[in-house]
Symmetry: C3
Subunit: 669 residues, 3 copies
């Protein structure tokens, strides 16, 4: 049976991507020694090594990798071994051009960058399987092997393919989903614009169209591509499970990544890992914090690994600012606080050639161990060793935000009343309010288990599948508080309108109907009055007719003035609140604070602005993270009477603690 992650890595993992094949062999020993010094206990190896492992079809050369793994193991560095399938070698696409992914215009992608394969290519799948089998058999008993890193950042550059083989697969996928062409016609609404199909092979990709696509078809194409890439992952997993049944497997996820439904993927992963690259311009990266929380939520709160971050600056933005001194450490602790049991970098040693040579690394081009960058790495690596018992500890959120990838796909398709709505921005808006109050938040799917939460928010949940409404109704009936925001409950899983007055499936729960949408122009605003105070709203106004709910905010201007903007509805033991517009942060803060107060949900500690407080609970103790994002020291009052152990300073604290600018305190009690 597969081992638990904290069996494999009992303490916080620290290290990075390691690409020894880009360096002369004489550098490898130096690397291993530096790793030791820097506190590195895990490195990811072989991610882009296919072309040097399988030199020609079926001709494998593992000798160099054997030596690398041996050296690492001798220096106490574990290996997260990649299956090396992330980028296929030149000989493969030369010999079998059908492995190449194809662009919308029919032109194949080419070798010369990375990830140019079609996920639907049978020949590619076959080649992957062969390579993974060889890798697994070769290293199944190597003592350095801690876990399997499958492929890399699936779909990061290429999550759509328009090859002939993909078209066949798409038609096959549709046949499986709909069984009959008549059923597909109905589910796609093909009587619109004369789009009826008589046969499966009349169906084309939703591209190269004179104008708007069929939204049901487009949604299914997105589902299909998610499934195709997921199949590719599962093919590798299956091979690995068979040969190394006890070794955990995973792939690495990404930030704000829309094409893949990570909730579904996580079910097939032993560990969630992801790559986080906040832009230093952001200052205090609450959006990345949200993704830590989302990643932790994908497997019901199981800690995740941060598989990649950068020490200094990346090279793929337009302008790549560097992290100021201390920021990398501070943000790493924010990761750990939110459930990160691994802090890893891309990459160990900065490359001297290739597209990423200006991407920061743990060891810079100068190879100077006195460099600021390396010194910060070393400090963090050695500090993390002191956090005994943290690995495996969990959060304890009472608040959940509903998140749904398919809703993300559907709500951002073209042809909407307002076509600049961003699903993530709507979610961020609510998340921000909790984040700034240091209220822990989990993420759940619409049909997820809500029983552990007191307060649930569903921002812009445009798509409600059959039965999802029952989950919300049950939650509120049982005493929960629910916020639903505008443009929710509009369509079913085919992106067809729920007829019968918006938002039909939520009408009785919310106690209202939305008679019309009144989108606002970019420069347009309105004012809303709540509790006698005025708040700016923009983007959207629902024209609401109350059916049991009561208005708690009303519009002040335009032809719908005095009509409800925000409503509340008592339902069973709980309440459902509907926010029919896009209010200012001030209003959301007020609304959410009121609810939290009523529900007696509180932050772990009261703290000054820009101080992040997070709790992780282990079996026998609680870790309290105090992160100071300010440019000045802050003093935080502690719980009266409690004696805390300051893990990093190695001393006891009571009453209050002062945390320096850009510094962190980790207290145990």
């Amino acid at each position: 049976m597969v081992k638990r992650i904290d069996e494999v890595m009992p303490s916080i993992a620290f290290g990075g991507d390691y690409n020894p094949e880009q360096w002369d062999e004489n550098v490898w020993l130096e690397d291993a020694k530096l790793m030791q010094e820097a506190g590195v206990n895990l490195v990811s190896v072989a991610i882009f090594s296919w072309s040097v492992l399988e030199r020609e079809e079926g001709k494998f050369d593992f000798s160099w990798l054997d030596r690398v793994l041996d050296i690492l193991h001798e220096h106490g560095v574990g290996v997260s071994l990649a299956t090396a399938t992330a980028s296929p070698p030149a000989w493969l696409s030369k010999e079998y051009p059908e492995v190449l992914a194809v662009q919308e215009n029919g032109v194949p992608y080419q070798i010369g960058s990375r990830q140019h394969y079609s996920p639907n290519s049978k020949r590619f799948r076959y080649a992957v399987k062969q390579l993974v089998k060889e890798m697994a058999n070769r290293y199944k008993d190597h003592p350095a092997l801690k876990m399997w890193h499958i492929n890399n950042e699936y779909g990061c550059h290429l999550a759509e393919c328009y090859s002939d083989e993909s078209l066949s697969s798409f038609r096959e996928w549709l046949k499986n989903r709909y069984q009959t062409i008549e059923n597909l016609n109905q589910k796609w609404g093909t009587n619109f614009w004369s789009q009826r199909y008589n046969e499966w092979d009349e169906i084309q990709f939703p591209v190269n169209l004179p104008t708007f696509y069929n939204p049901s078809q487009k949604l299914d194409y997105k589902r299909f591509m998610n499934d195709a890439i997921f199949d590719l992952y599962k093919i590798e997993k299956e091979v690995l499970r068979e040969i190394t049944p006890d070794i955990p497997v995973f792939t690495n996820f990404m930030y704000e990544f829309k094409p893949l439904n990570y909730f579904g993927w996580a079910k097939e992963m032993d560990l969630v890992t992801w790559d986080s690259y906040p832009d230093p311009r952001e200052g205090k990266p609450y959006r990345h914090a949200m993704h830590h929380d989302l990643m932790r939520s994908l497997k019901n709160g199981q800690p995740f690994y941060l598989m990649e971050q950068v020490t200094s600056h990346v090279n793929w933005r337009d302008i790549n600012l560097t992290k100021k001194p201390g920021k990398m450490r501070l943000w790493s602790y924010s990761t750990v606080a939110r459930g990160g049991d691994g802090v890893m970098y891309f990459q160990w040693r900065q490359g001297k050639a290739g597209a990423e040579k200006f991407h920061g690394a743990m060891v810079p081009h100068s190879n100077d161990s006195n460099s600021r960058v390396y010194q910060e790495v070393k400090q963090l690596g050695n500090e993390l060793k002191q956090l005994d018992g943290l690995a495996g500890a969990r959060g304890t959120a009472k608040v959940a935000i509903v998140f749904d990838w398919e809703n993300w796909w559907a709500v951002e398709h073209e042809g909407k009343p307002h076509n600049r709505l961003s699903y993530l921005d709507q979610v961020y808006q609510y998340y921000r309010s909790f984040y700034e109050k240091n209220i822990a938040v989990d993420f759940v799917e619409p049909n997820g288990n809500l029983a552990d939460y007191q307060f649930v928010v569903a921002p812009m949940l445009y798509m409600i599948r059959d039965g999802d409404e029952n989950n919300f109704e049950q939650f509120v009936k049982n005493g929960g508080t629910l916020i639903v925001s505008f443009f929710s409950g509009i369509v079913d899983e085919q992106d067809h309108i729920h007829l019968g007055g918006y938002p039909a499936p939520l009408r009785s729960l919310l106690g209202l109907t939305v008679e019309e949408f009144a989108p606002m122009a970019d420069d347009e605003k309105n004012t809303m009055v709540a509790n006698g105070e005025k708040f700016i709203v923009d983007t959207w106004a629902d024209i609401i007719k109350l059916e049991g709910a009561k208005a708690i905010a009303t519009y002040k201007e335009n032809w719908y003035q005095d009509k409800p903007a925000v409503t509340i509805h008592r339902y069973g033991q709980g309440s459902s609140i509907y926010v029919g517009t896009n209010p200012s942060d001030e209003y959301l803060d007020q609304l959410i604070s009121g609810i939290l107060q009523q529900l007696q949900v509180r932050a772990p500690l009261e703290a000054p602005k820009n101080v992040e407080i997070v709790e992780r609970v282990a079996n026998d103790k609680t870790f309290l993270f105090i992160l100071n994002h300010n440019n000045d020291p802050v003093t935080v009052a502690l719980e009266e009477g409690t004696v805390y152990q300051d893990c990093l300073q190695g001393k006891q604290v009571t009453q209050s603690i002062t945390v320096q600018n850009t510094d962190v305190a980790i207290l145990v009690c």
Copy 2:
């Protein structure tokens, strides 16, 4: 012989697109009853029904459409029956891929949206002919059939095709036009850039070029595509005329639609119809008003139908604002005032699936007959019934603006002195001035009959075909007043320079020559002095040498200061005015007011700002429309001593009338 429109529909037509095939049959009866209630007397049926009418090649199923037409007829609703050719079915492009239009890069468009056919495909033309024949034979005697709606919004998404078959057709078209390749070489000026052709099949499309195209070739390509699409229309018309010689036929035109020369098309239509979608942001949509006037002018003043508008908001803009209460009605009356004998919507019932499900409709998703939207529809539909004798009434403009599609194509081609000139904007600029003064305007082609007008404006008439100058000369000689604006008279119909000093063909009429063009940068302005007053000018300055004309405005700055900016030339009994720059609205208002005063051309009534006054004259009476676009009531003085009948209020008024905010009065005298 074909019936007159007012024979077929003796009162204002009211209704919309009706797509019953998207709904269960049990909704149809409900639809018909609601239509009755709402005052609907005409609906457009079967526009996108090809795939449900011809299920497979040659296998037709008209049964459902039979039932729809019967139900409609039973409820007193007439049918504008579409030929269903607007979007071909999947089986057609699967079986005959050559029907697909092709993009510039050689990639065919695909099924999955609409209008993916190549207008030049012989196979497509054949399929169209078969379908139309079937339709016409099936319904030729159905009592609901009022008129034929051919295809739909020709070219709206796809007015260029680059298929091999289109290339052959283009060469054929050129052979017909030029007879010999030597003639083509001369007419295209192919000695420039070594572009000579020896044979017809050396000619390519004017795309996929390393740099600037040959403007004569590009212009001919535009002519060719207009003709190709027009042929498609005429094929259908011919079939229909043969089978139903008495039923009027037409297709629906669009707003600001450049690819098709509607003046030419209108000659083959029994009724001009068009689709108007003003953005509610515009407030008072004078540009749409201009297109009403243009549409009315296409058939020499014959009333047109507004074939599509939306009740609330569309879904194809970036952000789709909704029309505020009353606006839809107000703008509908503006249509009627300007010659609209039909007020129709896209669409009757809001769709539940497909790309247009968020496009507003007469009956919203909620199916709620108390909804604001449906109530406004019902009010308007029932009001329009009261306007006895209006259908067929005509305008009586004394002013005409010259409009020419081929000039539009040529003047906006690349490689000009100033490449951001918009022909429409130049036309709008003059139109606006008349519109705000409530002076009726017709549109004419450069070789059109000018005898009925006192005042003609030709904005930026870059292309003057041989002989067009005589038309203008005759008009002025006979006492007319003509304004010509800058960059007029520069090229012939091949887009070759009229040599001999700009604007060579108009030099004697205008009494001047333009020695140089001095375009202005985006942020550049100049000042012009006229009658001692200063006016801002921008965009362009002609350097004018007088040859008989006299300056009525001169530049104040730059190296051409004191040179003429605007000139007047007495010619025969009339005057020709040349505006050699782009003046501010203030100047144009002053210039035009002065001329109108001199010519004693007046608005039907004096009115406050933002009040639209329009007159339509029937055989025995005059309808006077007073439309209040303001947010406050206005009072308009009426003609002393006249007793008017207020059609909507059903009472008599004299002296003055007060019209509410966003309201309209229709007086008959």
Copy 3:
């Protein structure tokens, strides 16, 4: 042996492109007479005449060109005869489609514009050779023939081709460069991202990639295309040299033209010529002045020809402003002052058809010899005749700026710390400072001869090839002053990092290392303190560690405050200065003035602002150009005691001279 240019054209050449094939033969005589009147002594003929010279494959018709050359010769107008290969005829691409260049998406370019050929097409090269042979044999003894104008503006629209034949050529080129595939793998760093190649024919173009390209591969593709186009030039040159060994040959270069390494090309040209089209918006076009200096430097100071400029306005910008009266003459003299021995225009007579009909010309559409444009041409043409002995005179710069096309290519590739850096802008920044001080500047390659200079500036010299550093070291050791600016010395000629601390090859020369790059966001600035004064800096900050150098400016803000921003290092007899940021013009002016003063490098004369002073030295005399770019007259003090001859006024001047607004004085002493 080939004649020297000043043998062929002993005085300043004046004329333009002449395209008689676009006009009826009866215009030709009129042209020749007007040319005579205007002082024209040279015209470029037949640039786009292929399709009228070779009517069909192998069927040549030179009769019309014979007559043209005869007429020109009879009127004393010499001919720069084009080889007519700039744009192939339609019959060629119809018969041999493989001559067509291909776009990234695989779609071939087409006939209908110009320059649609693939430089790698063997068939095209063959056709070119045949045509040039015919031309050369036909006209080798014609007395009008002064020089050969090969092709035209190579690569101006199309400097990349993705045809199959180009791919084969690319692979062949790589094989020649790298000999073994293993060597290529190492030089391209293909162990990165699994890009190893086993065979040459696995290599693809660096396009159609899912994400970032391999920068070494991209750089080689740019080198390959430069070489391919250069080969095309050399094929023509070889033919011409054989048939007319004494006639100079060249092609015409362009402004800011990145794809071709003109330093390399110039070695194969007998005369550097280029086409300069400053935008009149610029006012005083110092960037074009820089390119005059660069063009003069390409052949070690040998005078160049301005082969094309426009009299009034071009037609290919968005908005094409016209040159105000006098500007064309003033800018022409600036050209002459900076080494221009020819002042030519595109074109003689303004075309009546085709893509360039709105491009200004020496004779406008009106054919009016009283027009401002023609009058200015005539004045200039006749003035230039008075400048005896000027042709062949040289400049005498003591300052050089390093310029390198391959560095330009490499530093602007993607994936950098800051991806909006413009190499040209960095060069302009330094050039501007010298230009405004009227300090003459030459341009040199990194491995060029620096011995003649006292002061050398190397802006953003990202790529340092092996050994280039020695050239700089030697220069400074010998007493030179060198400025190097940020992001220099980073990579080798493969675009691989010079390991060992930035900028490794320059570390000892500069006496420092750059530990980190800190790019700045767009809206970000910092302040730098130098000599107690504050200066704004932006874009970039190097984090510098001194290793012998001393700081002469330090940062005032951000985490790197007080660290060095600009440093100086005594090295041998000279000094090297490093500018580790992007400082304001004020700072650069101060820094450069200080150095110039120390080195006693001075302008020819002290002059007011916006007065351009340039010296050219002939065998026996010195020409002093005083160009007044102001809108008011200026008075310039002359050297005490010297008596100057004013060439244009034909009188002597001493003490001082007053030059009118937009006027020029040329003094000889």
